[in-house]
Symmetry: D2
Subunit: 373 residues, 4 copies
């Protein structure tokens, strides 16, 4: 059986997933066979060029016809077009894989998660950083209790592409289309990664309460190629304090104004028996401190044969890149589709992250702590 | 003229300052001459031994007699004995140098700052980290506008000496004696350092509002050498979000439960033109990123001849240690005493830090943002 | 026109190049079209499986037929089968791309380079590390004179897969098949990379004299799955001192016994105006120190849009992996084939590296410095 | 009993040792009492000022009278005045502590070591880096066999104070006065540190053979404050390959032309069971990799209470500086003087290092490997 995949969106995420799909046969021969069947968008010319380059059989400008037809539907469009096509696909019984954040508003995310629960087909939110080998290795250490009781959690996602006030306006600066700014775009990754790593009930448990702070440093930006200025209606940066179910405390942060940082997603965890540090810009490495065996952090290069996913690739020390996380993620999602198993992170996980983001926004408005759910 | 110095306290801080005083003549020949005149404490035997080792001429168990007699009074006792002797000294017209935090309560800190203002003699709060050459170098870059407009500030002070629940109870775990825990002991340093670095009106300005969170992970601890358990009535860790006067946002954190971190005080600043990073465990280094000249952080070893204080010591690359910050601090304070100049950080600076700490505590209780002053 | 590529070798390097070929169309749309035409080997079953997985049209066990037939021949077999098929292909006018080191002996390498010169078709030695973006960035800085006159060069390639004396014998331990051990396998990369970076006449120039030292720590090893022990007839590690044409001095080193290092290829260069450092395990980064602008090394993440090759991939901060070097290398080689341009590193470059390796071996035997002819 | 110490030399090393002597009573109360008795030099005015600042009781311009009179003689003058006064002191039965390298020539070093053996009084060569806590910790790990059999050793000492061709000529550039350049000044430290760490017979054993290379990049330099140019008759940099008694191989290097490096003395060791790394510019840290417990290097902050010498100073995480190595060294030497024990590194150790340096020079001249007698 070959899975026919329909993909909405052909820009950054479209390319990242098309690439991942194209690499499965060589590196994950046990993955289901897939056909990049149809690429969906609005501009036929651009779409046609993209389909050629990305290896799609056909194109379509009408997603409604597609979601019914294909075996799997990937929704990689901007946030404001996540809900409708995804729900339609689910209602048609088509498994859906959707980019993060799940939706620009909590209400839409809830509708999507409801549709997924109703449909009973595999569904996934594309939190690709769960599939970094070093993160999977961290998860293994945490699950095995190697860090003990969790006390502190820190997540920080730093970029700097908006620090120049002349950087042009884009849909990512618009509340209608993006929902939020750094919070939804970057914070969603952080919240999901922390839920994945320490959210288990025998670790920190879920995030229960947050205090949030959003900030917009530049209020309007030029529209590219014109004199027009358009309002920035989302946050340029956010910070939050978090209380976890079992008493751990956390701080979260993201910014598009962190001069010198391009894509620096950092996670730090301190437990009663050890600590962990991870940075996306050095994604092959995990820093591990286990009080029983270490006096300081040990830099583990997570490229050994028995490290997660690594045996599919290259010998020890031959490092992977950012894009490999998409291959792993697609492999897992499509395997779930083929076997009918559930996939995590699901739409429910996407919604759970969204609840945290919504609580951070609510807290910022009320200027007080807000409970999640 | 030789300044006769009276010192209350002969433990950790007593030794750190006695050492600093003893080294001035060799390395800072333009410092005023000082005599370690009298060491003040309660236990005569211990005091006498300490005076021998630390090079004091005499001992006294009655600070009241001392504060009048000496040319300078150093108050290095536990937090709850900061106020009374310091105020008495100031009322006697004796310059006072007091360890941080200025007092266990905001009320006492205010009384102390009032007394200092009244007395009109040099007074100082011992925020020694201002006197790290790398921090002075950072201050220079910031003052020169090299980082541009300040957007983000981060301060984190991590230790792990209480992560073992069997670690014994001490006065530092007691609200009466210490005021607060990690907040006052460690957070006071962070708040002062950030005020020093970005608090100028043409940078971030003062901290205006905070949202705080305090946590005690272990509620009671054994009294050393007995079966008795005593309550921990202070925080083991705190976090805070901060809004600065001119729009910068910050996160603060300290913990005594950060497994693997011994004395890790980290400062990070992002401005529109550059970024800085500093860690106390590598105190000879400053990481600098200036967008005009750098693409990433540059590790500056702040040991060149024209770096702050360095010409007093050794050639480039011959690194200094933690204790040197006390020598610089004592040099500056005693020079101010000799010349009658004001010294910073003063009691007023100690009070300003205290106001922030008090606001963090108040915010933690109210579960909402609190304005400072 | 589609280039039909014949590939000898289907293990590690076969997979690395097959992967590279498969990715050109999506990421380098201006590359010539290629067909993975025929995969050459000895064991038909294994070959057939490999061809399926690696996407080859057909298989062949007889390279002699293939080298004539295809548009391009890739020789990715063990070192002792580099010469004959490569020379046959060149004699047939077929462009050849050969893995490094060019041959197990200097004599064979000379024959191969002669054949390449004779044939006048594009030929390449697969020194893939020239195609790391950070290395290309370093080359740009060096060519622009940013480091000034070169004084010191250091190259070190550390692995640890033989430190266990029970690690099984393989062809890489055999002088007949491999030529040398760490020297040829790892040292060849180092020598080529240094020639690439500083070998220009206005930089350090060529390596002129070497003093070498080879060492075998474990003399025999078990044959996998048997009781038999077989002799190790190559070096486990080598070191060398180098004199460059214009006075720079260098040290080289490689080992398969460097416990804790998996694939740690490090280059360090000091010039009169600056210094550079690179490590393959952090291949997205280049450490740069330019005395005019820096006081210490600056960590440059070489992932910006205008960095070499990066615009073909992902946005800034989205790091690449080891395998991407093969894509860049294949892109350049195949573009040269399509246009008829020469490609570097050529067989002549492969030979030049070989001369250095041979001189290191000769020096080790004579216990004296040896000139590189 | 108070030891009266006479010190020849009042510049950099004079200050470093005077400081060390002044700090013993506060931090090493079990050290013998010492009096900075007499400071010896040629220029009475400068000497008198120095004695005041460094805390000496008296001055003398005639070392011959002094060496007899004092309880201990410190020879901290330039290399060419090491032999005569040291030998005279030893002949007078006075313990001698001499700066490194022991002498400008091997012949003089031999005479000094002979005199020390003859005298039978404590004698020391001032290789202060043995007394870095992190180095002592490394020594402990090595002695306990934690690294297994030693395969690789690397030592590198990088400075850049001569990279500017206009940097003025000094005695350190003169063969008569200094013996050699980077080799003797910096290489002596490296050789001693490696002998200390791995020279034991159950580790690598002594260095047996070397291949050396010396280079002078700038042949003449201006005399400060004049138009005169004077010849540089020593090396600006050296490299060497080393064979150890039990088969380990090593590379050594030092330079005064390593742009961007101020005082970067690095040691790296790979054994069959683990590896170590140390850098003087981060002297509180030791990087440790033990294959049984680690997958990568662990950064150990060697500031715990039970780390060597640390309990004399400050709590964990309160880092020490370069000068503390002198305090430890003086403590050990003077304790040996007081008890009559032998001290290491002795003159014999100074001579052993010198033999290696001489062999490196001889090898550089002969262009072949040279055995260390």
């Amino acid at each position: 059986m070959t899975l026919e995949v329909g993909v909405l969106g052909y820009r950054f995420m479209g390319k990242a997933h098309a690439n991942a799909l194209s690499r499965l046969s060589m590196f994950f021969p046990d993955a289901p066979e897939v056909e990049r069947s149809v690429l969906v968008g609005r501009d036929e010319d651009a779409l046609s060029d993209a389909a050629d380059q990305l290896g799609f059989e056909s194109i379509a400008t009408d997603w409604e016809a597609v979601v019914d037809d294909v075996d799997v539907f990937y929704n990689l469009g901007p946030n404001h077009v996540h809900a409708e096509p995804s729900i339609a696909a689910l209602e048609a019984g088509t498994p859906v894989f959707c980019e993060k954040p799940l939706a620009p508003t909590l209400a839409e995310a809830e509708r999507m998660a409801d549709a997924a629960a109703e449909a009973g087909v595999p569904n996934g939110t594309a939190f690709n950083y769960r599939f970094v080998p070093a993160i999977q290795h961290a998860k293994g250490l945490l699950e095995a209790g190697e860090l003990g009781e969790i006390h502190h959690v820190r997540g920080r996602y730093l970029q700097d592409w908006l620090v120049d006030p002349e950087a042009p306006w884009s849909w990512r600066n618009d509340a209608e289309m993006a929902g939020s700014g750094a919070l939804g775009d970057l914070g969603a990754h952080t919240v999901d990664l922390l839920r994945f790593l320490v959210g288990d009930d025998d670790l920190a448990g879920e995030m229960e309460r947050v205090s949030g702070h959003l900030q917009t440093f530049v209020d309007e930006r030029p529209v590219d190629g014109s004199d027009e200025m358009r309002s920035v209606t989302v946050d340029d940066a956010y910070s939050a304090q978090v209380e976890f179910e079992h008493g751990a405390m956390g701080t979260l942060e993201a910014s598009r104004f962190a001069t010198g940082h391009k894509n620096d997603h950092t996670i730090e965890i301190h437990g009663s028996k050890g600590s962990l540090r991870f940075s996306l810009e050095r994604l092959n490495e995990l820093e591990v401190m286990r009080a029983d065996e270490n006096r300081g952090y040990e830099t583990v290069l997570v490229t050994d044969e028995d490290d997660p996913y690594v045996d599919h690739w290259w010998p020890p020390g031959h490092v992977l890149g950012w894009e490999h996380t998409f291959v792993h993620e697609n492999y897992e999602f499509l395997s779930a589709v083929a076997s009918g198993d559930t996939f995590e992170p699901s739409f429910a996980d996407g919604l759970a992250a969204q609840r945290v983001l919504a609580a951070i926004e609510a807290s910022d408005e009320k200027r007080e702590w807000v409970s999640i759910s």
